[in-house]
Amino acid sequence: MRKRVAIVGAGMTYFRSMLPMTPQEMVFEAARKSLDDCGLEFKDIDAVVSGSAPDAFDGYHHKGLVGVEPSGAYGKPYSRVFVGGGTGVGVAVAGWWHVASGAFKRVLVVAWEKMSHPYPHAQPLFKTIFDPVIEQPLGPNLIWIFALEMRRYMEAHKLSKELIARVAVKNKGNALDHPYAQLGAKITVEDVLKSPVLVWPVHRLDISPSSDGAVALVFASEEEAKKITDTPVWIEGVGACLDSQFWTNRDLAYPYYVYLAAQQAYKMAGITNPLKEIDVFEPYDPFTYKELHHLDALLGKPGLAPKLLAEGQLERDGDYPTCPSGGLLGVGNPIAAAGLMKVAELYWQLSGRAGKRQVPNACVGVAQAWGDLMQVAQVVVCRS
């Protein structure tokens, strides 16, 4: 019998392009805050689930080990979860398994990233995600896959770059209200279109920044959660789905694997009409078009998200508030921490703690992350 799982605490560091702390210190700050948030101590935690991107970014091999000490995982089960860019939400999904299985009552879920260690830049390391035999010899960079996917998506629904640029305007604007955000800003569609083209159709301002940061959440079983807090946020559904690495064999216009992961989570949560039943959406937005691309799949309606964007429905005060946090585009993109930040945002929104970002009467939310070679989907549905 599956146990009910609640989020009872959350904490995060500032997201910045360069944080002077070590990854260990960042993990400690996030973990300490998440425990202070719910009045627990490290000794109250039964197990720790951690997540972080490939080791080459921090420059520590086997870097899961750096999370052990500052998360208080001494003498406890500790694991590092990795599903590419999907890790941040994947680590929440794995944290859910720990409690839902009945094996653990209180679990600390933590994700961090230190993207500022590679010098001069992390970007050349991203090349190594491509197949070494048939893709790397072409001299790729990471933005290729996004540009290819974006172009296909634009073709499928006849979307303009002007419309897609509104995602950056919205999310950077929302991030102005996020106390830990790196890139909150008031910008215009013009600004996005006039920023340098890197790999057309992708301009610089279509892309989230590279960032350092850490986020931690505390999960508890139903019995424990009721003792710990009056405002638990329940994880009502989780979903995870991967497509194959042979990404040139599928239509990039629609991430069907995201749809499948969302359907798993909705089924578990008893959601039949996401458009009607969900109050807050936090789709993964490392690039502008990705928010729409993923929202299409979360809604199960290819091409709907751009229409809602055009109508202004995705604004925080619209009918379908999307990335009220400010998303990766505004808050920042410390890979795994960015995904978990979205789950933290659901916790803050649904427990009424989102401050200036608060979406009124938010009861149900969905967070999603995505990664690898356009093939990973991780989804969490929460309810207050």
């Binding site: 500032y14 702390m21 420059g59 057309w200 992708v202 069907y256």
Partner: protein, 219 residues
């Protein structure tokens, strides 16, 4: 105000170290000026932590270099594929169960979870499924005057729309570059064909196809 100080292996410093260690450090370029001192110094001026006790007066920066070379085995399917490229042929496999043509080839069908051992040859003509114009190289600081056209090519006769639980479409397809067309004129659906290197220049690499070019008279 916080200082940022590099712990830099200057030539003088290296003289004190054991010879093999000093040589290693030099060979890896760690005796050079590295780093973003100003960036780090300014990073400590913004709020970086909410832990009150955490004051940094002098941020020390240390440096290292990681360099690993890898020799990847191409495996059963890609070895045969690369051998085919060397001979000017695009080879794929076909799953007899679901009928899909698999390019890049594999010796298993991940839909049917069955072995695949039937090999097929494809002339390499197809359409551009999607494309982008890359103004930067693998190193993002390298900026091109004229963009490189990068595309996914779907091969003729292999596109199969399905409503399975796995995906909505399968196509045998490949990532490559496109030349011989103005970046302004390239479009989704454009017909292209492979342009091969001369037989004596081919080595069994994806680069044995020099690029894809528009098919004359094609739309």
């Amino acid at each position: 105000m916080t200082r940022a100080t590099p712990s830099r292996f200057s030539p003088n410093y290296l003289q004190q170290l054991p010879e093999d260690l000093a040589k290693y450090i030099q060979r890896h370029g760690l005796d050079k000026e590295l780093g973003r001192l100003e960036g780090w110094a300014s990073s400590t001026e913004k709020r970086y932590t909410e832990v009150e006790e955490w004051q940094i007066d002098n941020l020390i920066l240390t440096y290292w270099h990681i360099a690993c070379m890898y020799r990847h085995s191409a495996g059963a399917a890609f070895s045969r594929f690369l051998e085919g490229l060397k001979n000017g042929k695009i080879l794929g496999t076909r799953c007899e169960n679901c009928g899909r043509v698999l390019i890049p080839p594999r010796i298993f069908c991940e839909w049917c979870f069955k072995d695949v051992d039937k090999w097929v040859e494809h002339p390499g003509t197809g359409i551009i499924s999607t494309y982008s114009l890359s103004y930067i190289g693998t190193d993002p600081r390298v900026r091109f005057e004229k963009p490189v056209i990068v595309a996914v090519i779907w091969f003729d006769g292999t596109v199969k729309a399905v409503n399975s639980s796995r995906t909505v479409l399968h196509a045998a397809g490949m990532l490559h570059k496109v030349y011989g067309v103005d970046p302004e004129k390239v479009h989704v659906g454009m017909r292209v064909k492979p342009v091969w290197r001369k037989p004596e220049e081919r080595v069994g690499s994806i680069l044995d196809i020099e690029y894809f070019a528009p098919v004359e008279g094609g739309a």
